[in-house]
Symmetry: C3
Subunit: 183 residues, 3 copies
């Protein structure tokens, strides 16, 4: 009987530990991503004369700022390089493809929907992202709503911060990518 | 031996209960959201003369209804107020930023992608939403595909119903927001 | 005592099996979708003369290919029929509503965001999809980011492959839909 009792106690501890592990994996915590990547996004807007360098272009019918002075309604399609440092000339580790639009009358404020396409020795696959880019905030969070390939079925949050702005022609965003569902 | 046996039975019940709780949290049920919010969305379309009040504007290249009489292809960028009651003049509890487009030749039918941005004493964070707004149906469901801040990693369904339409100039939607993943 | 011991062993096996079942349902595997559908998507682009047959139209302000020769910036709104075989004339089992855009200067490359709307005897509900359509790849994966109705809270991956292209006027995609979260 004593043997059974000890065995029983050990089993109890094993079961409890497993429960805690499972429960922990189910409850997601902002400070505990299962994967994290910090990347830089470079956008060079087409301005009629820079077709060789431009990586994005406004394709909406211009409202000519009748709704405020902050490009309300401007919709920009992009194929932007993603680098691991702030240097635009670094070899891109991914492309960001999709669009953003400006949507406020009283300040610069944007909305993004795009795909990060990785095709390097490190990662092969995509992350799909959408959300508000509330430019006036120092950092703002968008949702990673899905992934494929090495990021199969991923979900998470990407935190944007403005890293550089040069008029309307060029801007650089720091993208702090945090995945909370990894498979 | 009897002591061990009773202990054993109690443990068995504890384990079973925990299993049921975990299993229940994994299986989502439409009638059991973990959070629910009913909000109203107000859209005032720019019509050249109402730039002070307009909250949205058509930015697509007009097709002039060559594809039916229901605005096929019209793409509207918006920054719309969200209120807890039907009154447009109530203090907004959130903004809805993104766009919708009309996409049928034979009837009014729309598609939405937008972010609900909460910045109040009650909630701070965003919900990202996309889906079809099948206007002819009394209620239609769109997907909440992600969230940030107080809605960290949320997912769910938002049920639209048309609450008021005043020509093309103003419409109000009731948005019944149901989250099924809350962290 | 022996009776208790045997009872104990049986219980142990039951608990372990349940654990494995739960663990298995939590870890998603690309080769094990919980639901799979293969469907065909037909797109007939509006070309000024085909308004009766067209199912999609370019609504962006034309860049006239100043950014490469691959329609960079073209944004196409669609309401496209979905069939279970390759025949455009088959009775549609769903509609695909949303938009795609072209976003590369050096080759044809697209980005999609749309909803599959099922309204048949077999399925009633929607699947919401977004992602990159990297046309040069034989197959490419987009994310299923949410679902409603019969596809309540679904997530998954849809694999595109080009099935036919007839100039800019018509193309057909095979959509291999794999859901990994089913409720």
């Amino acid at each position: 009987m004593e043997k059974s009792y000890y065995y029983f106690n050990i089993l109890f501890i094993i079961i409890l530990t497993t429960f805690l592990l499972i429960a922990n994996s189910i409850t997601l915590k902002p400070e505990k991503p299962c994967k994290r990547l910090v990347l830089y996004y470079h956008d060079i807007l087409f301005n009629v004369t820079n077709s060789a360098n431009a990586t994005s272009a406004n394709v909406s019918n211009p409202l000519n700022n009748v709704l405020g002075d902050y490009n309300f309604g401007m919709l920009v399609v992009f194929d932007d390089p993603i680098t691991i440092d702030q240097n635009l000339m670094s070899t891109p580790v991914a492309r960001a493809q999709g669009f953003y639009l400006y949507n406020m009358k009283s300040k610069y404020n944007a909305w993004f929907a795009y795909t990060l396409i990785f095709n390097s020795s490190e990662y092969c696959g995509t992350l799909n992202i959408m959300g508000a880019d509330i430019i006036e905030q120092k950092t703002r969070d968008l949702s990673i709503v899905g992934g494929t390939g090495d990021f199969f079925m991923a979900r998470g949050v990407v935190t944007f911060s403005t890293d550089a702005v040069e008029g309307l022609g060029y801007f650089r965003l720091k993208m702090d990518i945090k995945l909370y569902e990894c498979y």
